[in-house]
Structure formats: structure tokens, C-alpha cells
Symmetry: C2
Subunit: 226 residues, 2 copies
DNA sequence: AAAATATGAGAATGATCATTCGCATGAATT
DNA sequence: AATTCATGCGAATGATCATTCTCATATTTT
């Protein structure tokens, strides 16, 4: 954790081996990152409104004067944190949408998303972002952008499967997409693994659910009766 | 909205027809309710931390001194709001779990819950409660209590159907219950009706999903291929 | 090496917050 | 009618907040 950072004025002290590996702007980026990580910890612990700048300063081991060199306001930090989290969330889900079997693709993407949210301790931050987005237009925009990015990619993935006759959903995409995404959000937000739900069992249930919703034509679907 | 309440000191001024219909304790209850409703509006607008006591006082048209006669602290108001909201949420869902066909029961309960959340503008408050519960033990307890109450009732409803051979879920209740409840939460939190999702289409999709998850044995399930 | 610039600390600032206090008034009780 | 009690107002209080200011030190440039 403490990687020997910084004397009191720890400028350009990194890696003496590397000589001038840390230019000014690199150093700046590192400090920005340091603030963001400290802020994230504080926001998870205390919420956006509940975490004070002093708390963030303490976590980042940095004075207010120093911190304000990197961000003009608390709001800017909040926005940066939300942006990063939503982007990570979207790419985590989208990155899994590549299985040739659509049912598998959706199931694995959902499972991966749930696991990722659990393992990276993103549940509390996600809940915070979600509630902030209800009244903060800037955060709402960030969330909407990422939702629509996921939605677009998801739409491509599913409609290609419809085209080739692999699935035959009982409703149109305008219903299917928001609903599936809401379901995924609910499962991530509830931290099912954290509540003791077995992931193998969850996979079975998710598959049954997805099969019900997408109605695959192929026969590779378990139709056992007991 | 403004139902002719209160002169400046509006004590026992209600309903002159009724004579002493408003005893002291009845008047008290009304004032408590007035504070709660004002607080709810403020919390939806500004969040728990973001709403100030002054804001709540203004909304309730009451001075701080007066308000503190009814609640000892802001935290107490927050707890009362959460308690009421979660109770309402649970009873809304449980109240619909009475259909003799389990698939119908679950589908209608979910639809009703989604509609209720949408129509009563509960989405933002729910999100707020959810994020508060991640770091406030008192709120977490309130949420857990209601979740387990719903879970218990839901478990009864489903296990009775399993007993009589109506359904045959592919996984045990320890997986099925948390997952279904997480799904419902996700759909309510996403305010699907508010996002333009058609409720009739949603019913079709929900039914397909529930059928996939519960595997009813009876033949009353739509198995059309187009 | 001297000037200019970037970075930092930490006290100060003014706003805002939850809560309390002193006091006045209406209702209930004697 | 007099006293007591519940209710209410709104200014006051002390804490805390986000942000800024001053100044010191380090780094880069000249």
C-alpha cells in the first residue's frame, strides 16, 4: 500500500533508477490518481455528501491547498469518480458480449458483471451513484451515456442473433433491452454473491431465465423435467 | 394540497362541526405526519444529507423549534421515513401474492410493485434509502427486516406450489428467492414505466421470464413459436 | 545563480448546518 | 380567573463545511 511515496515535498522522487522517468505531467497524473482513489474510499465509507474534503485530504495524505491544485471543487471529484466507475461498469459488461451462443453470451456477461461488482467492492459506490443521478443532472448524464452505450452494443448483439434466427424474443427490443439491463442492475446492486448465493446455482437460474426471455430456436437448451 | 390548515397557532382548529374531534394526541399525530410528508418531499428533492432541517421546516411551514417538538433529530426523521417506505413497499408486493396460479401471482405482484413505485414517485426515495442502507446500520436493519418479511411470505407462496407439483424450479429457494427479489428491485429502481416501457409488453416478457425460472408443469403456458 | 514557476502546507474565511434557548401564546385544568 | 402545560416562533449557538489565502519550498528555466 504505502509504496514509499513522498518526503514532505516528494516531487520527482520516484524511482531513482529511472532517472527522469517522472516528468512534471506524469507526477501530476499520479497525484490526480491519488486523490481519486482516496476520494473513492471516502465516498464508499461516507457517501458523496457525507464525505468532507478534509476527510478526503486525510485519506490522500494531502493538504487542502495541495488537493485543490488538482481539482477545482468537490463536485469535480464526484463527477470524475462517477465517470470512471460507469465506464468500468460498461466495459466490464460489454467485454463479455462475444460468445457465439447468445444465451451463453448474455448469461456469462451477467455473471461476470455480478462477480466483478462484488469482487471490486463496487456495490456501495454504485448505489451512491444511482441515487446521486436522481437529482444531479451531470451525474445523470454520465449514467445515461453509459447505459445507452451498453444498450447499443447489446442491441447489436441480440438483433444479429434474431436476424440469423437463433432467438425469437416474445417482445420488441424497446421492452427487452431496458428490462434485461434493469435486471442486471438489480442483481449487481443486491450483491448476490455477498449474500451467499452460489454462483453455479445462479448460472443455472440465469440461463433458465434468459432462455425464457430470448426463446432460442436451437436444441442446446436443457429441457429436463426433473 | 393546502387544506386550510392552521392559523398561526393552529391548535385544535379543525372541523368546528365535530367539536372536540381533535384531541391533543390527534393533533400531535397530524403534525408528525406533516413533518414526515414535508421531509419526504425534501429527501426526494435533495437527498438525506443534502436536505437541511431549514428546508424541511420551510416545506412543512413550521419553525425549527416547533419541528423539534415532534422529532428529536434529523436522523429520527430519516429512520421514520425509511421505515414507512419499506413497510409500504413490502405490503405492496406481499398483498398481490394471492393468485391461485403461481406464475400469475408472481407476474402480477411484480407488475403491481413496478407500477406502484412509478406512480407514487418512489424511485428516487428508494435509491436514496438503498444507498443510505449501505453505511447506516439502523437503515440497513430496517431494509433487512422488510426484505426478510417479503422473503418469508414469498417462500411460503412458492413452496406451497412446489408441494402441490405446480412448479419445479431448477434451483433451490436459497438461490431463487434472493435472485427474484433482486430482479424486482432492479426493475422498480429503473422505473421502467417512466422510461417508456409498455406495461402490456412488460407483462409478456415477465411471464416468459417467470415461466423459465419456475418451470410450471401445467399446460396453460403460452408456447407459441411466433 | 537568479528568476520564474509549480507544488505544498495549514491557518483563515464565510457560509451553512443541526440543534437549542428564551420567550410568547393557546388550551386544559384547577 | 388563575395556573399549568403544550405548542410555536425565530434568533442564537457552536460545529463543520468547501474553499481560499499566504507563505514556504522545490523544480525548472534563463
Amino acid at each position: 500500500m504505502d509504496q514509499g511515496i513522498s518526503d514532505r515535498f516528494g516531487l520527482a522522487v520516484l524511482d531513482p533508477l529511472d532517472g527522469q522517468a517522472s516528468s512534471r505531467s506524469e507526477r501530476r497524473d499520479q497525484q490526480v490518481q491519488r486523490v481519486l482513489e482516496a476520494a473513492k474510499a471516502c465516498f464508499i465509507r461516507s457517501g458523496f455528501k457525507g464525505a468532507s474534503m478534509q476527510e478526503i485530504c486525510a485519506e490522500a495524505e494531502m493538504s487542502p491547498g495541495a488537493l485543490y491544485r488538482y481539482f477545482p471543487s468537490k463536485e469535480a471529484i464526484v463527477e470524475a469518480i462517477c465517470e470512471a466507475d460507469r465506464r468500468d461498469d460498461a466495459s466490464c459488461f460489454i467485454g463479455m458480449l462475444d460468445n457465439p451462443s447468445v444465451v451463453d453470451g448474455v448469461v456469462y456477461a451477467a455473471l461476470h458483471h455480478i462477480r466483478h461488482t462484488h469482487e471490486c467492492n463496487k456495490t456501495a459506490l454504485f448505489a451512491e451513484i444511482r441515487s446521486e443521478s436522481m437529482r444531479n443532472p451531470a451525474i445523470d448524464l454520465t449514467c445515461s451515456r453509459n447505459i445507452s452505450e451498453v444498450g447499443k452494443r447489446f442491441h447489436q448483439y441480440l438483433s444479429a442473433a434474431v436476424e440469423r434466427g437463433e432467438i425469437d424474443p416474445p417482445v420488441g427490443f424497446e421492452t427487452l433491452l431496458p428490462t434485461i439491463m434493469a435486471i442486471g442492475e438489480g442483481m449487481a446492486l443486491n450483491d448476490l454473491p455477498g449474500r451467499g448465493v452460489d454462483m453455479d446455482q445462479l448460472e443455472i437460474l440465469l440461463r433458465a431465465m434468459v432462455v425464457g426471455m430470448l426463446r432460442p430456436r436451437t436444441a442446446d437448451v436443457a429441457t429436463n423435467t426433473d
